[in-house]
Amino acid sequence: MKIQHRTALIFATLTISIVLLVSMVEYYFVNQNTFEDFYKRLEIRAIIAAKTEFEKAAMGTSAYEEIRKLHLETLPNEKEYIIPVDPTTNQPGSNPLKVNDNFFKEAISTGKARYRDNSTFYLGHLYGDDTRKYIVVISAKNEFIDAFLYNFRTTIIISIISTSLVSLLIGLWFSNIVMKPIRSVTQKMQDISASQLHLRLPTPEIGRDEIANLAKTFNNMLDRLESAFETQKNFISNASHELNTPLTTIIGESEYALSKPRNMDEYAGSLHVILSEAERLRKITGSLLHLAQTGYNGKNQEFKQLRIDEVLFIVKENVDNIIPENNVYINLTLIPEDQTKLLVKGNQQLLELALANIVLNACKYSRNQPVQITLAASHQKVILIIEDHGIGIPKNEIAYIYEPFFRASNTGSFNGYGIGLPLSRNIIRMHNGELEVTSQENVGTKIKITLPLYVL
């Protein structure tokens, strides 16, 4: 059974049982009250009957008869019995009624007694002085109560049935509303298959409810999944490309050295070149290995307290190594005076990788025109702006730049795989940060990275 239907059912059962309980309690008390009411009516009649019978001498019958006629309607099947009590045995003289003895005993001892035989009610009233006692018994059929209780029962049954229907409907509607966000999340999740891992669930900006949290958690998981997928998919092509460049240099240099006999200095020069390229090669394999190991299995990710400006200087150094003719400037005019405002929590290697990717892109696509990196901090965030004056991104393509392997239409003359930016963005997201890109074609690109401040 779906949770939605179960919720509706539970809701309906709850409502119905409450209504049922209330109706039963109501019925019980109404029933009791109407009995009481009828007995009171009988009592009045009994008292008047007794007075008429025994105080004829004092008042005359007519006065009581008149009162009785004027103010008391005759009840259905109303009968009147006067039974003398034997003063010696203290027992009723005769018993013309189908009433058990307890009725009379009670009447004699307490002066009043009640008895009910289905809808016929009896009321006994003791009357008399010390010498002579009588029990006046009035009996009548209570037809009112039958009709009244019948009506009451039907009303209750109808109301229970209608309440059940209404509560079932409301329950369905209610559970439908409750389950709606979950259903929509499920629906969106179904759209995300292995080949479309770049899709994300929409997360409402202001939403802090459970569903928004769920969507965010899913998105984080998708980030990790996507990066893992991508690294897996592109590792070989990435690695071979990265390894190819130094290898080509080494081979070229060796061929050049071996092409004819040379003197010692020339051989030494060639060997130096080969050594430095081999070292670069080792560095690359090392870092690739590191990426594969630390990367995205979730176990080895160590998040430590880092100073973002230090990371930035290391990135600058790395960029200098890879593109010596770069024009990267770090703008520190907005750097906060308080150094604790530069602390972030993160993984040094990953952050370096992410930033280096972006800075290298900026250098590459601007053909080494000046690239400015500005560092600043607000109260909650560290902000990095990387601005270049390169070819930019065409306006209608900016929506696709985070898709792996997507390359803008104006990048034909540049080498690349379209992996750097998505990877960087995923790394930034892993650090709970954000990456925003604004660009104007042939003017330049501005990338803003925000990372949450490390809370001391």
């Binding site: 005019t333 907005l334 750097i335 906060p336 005076e337 405002k341 600043a376 901090a377 607000s378």
Partner: protein, 173 residues
């Protein structure tokens, strides 16, 4: 400590006045109030439910908040605090009262930046401030440009949609 009141239209450019202020008065600690004037409401519900006054604070862009926080962090030693304040009034008397009540030392305007009326009920601030006969600090932005705050902003000037443009006081003269 000096209390400076800087009228703003919530554009990043208007924060240049903060630089100018630091350049001019930076030898003491500064308490800076970024001020924006709104027309008072004549609607009975608005008056009864004054909490609605917190609404314009939500209209301030994240970029602007970020930008003044960056400035505050940049000059921690010189800036004691930066806060945003809305005024509700359209008379010089109100402004004069406010300036006295808040114990404002200087009011700073920039010569070359024209403040936009960035909210539906914004009021032109410069003419009213002039009427208060409170001495205004009018600083030329070109005099000293220490840092370009717009470097940090992803927001272009065009992104503020002004309802009207306040007359430049230069031409007003």
């Amino acid at each position: 400590m000096k209390h400076l009141l800087i009228p703003t239209d919530f554009s990043i450019q208007s924060l240049n006045a903060v630089y100018a202020a630091i350049a001019k008065y930076g030898d003491t600690q500064l308490k800076i109030t970024l001020f924006h004037l709104l027309a008072p409401s004549h609607d009975i519900t608005d008056i009864l439910f004054a909490y609605k006054r917190s609404r314009p604070h939500h209209a301030i862009s994240e970029n602007f908040k970020e930008a003044y926080q960056i400035l505050q962090n940049r000059y921690t030693s010189r800036i004691h605090s930066i806060t945003v304040k809305f005024g509700y009034g359209n008379t010089a008397a109100y402004l004069k009262n406010l300036l006295e009540g808040e114990k404002v030392d200087h009011v700073i305007f920039m010569t070359d930046s024209v403040l936009q009326l960035s909210m539906a009920k914004s009021i032109e601030m410069l003419p009213l401030f002039r009427k208060t006969s409170f001495p205004l600090d009018v600083i030329s932005a070109k005099s000293k440009k220490e840092v370009d705050i717009s470097a940090i902003s992803m927001m272009n000037r065009n992104e503020i949609k002004p309802f009207k443009t306040e007359k430049s006081y230069v031409t007003e003269k």
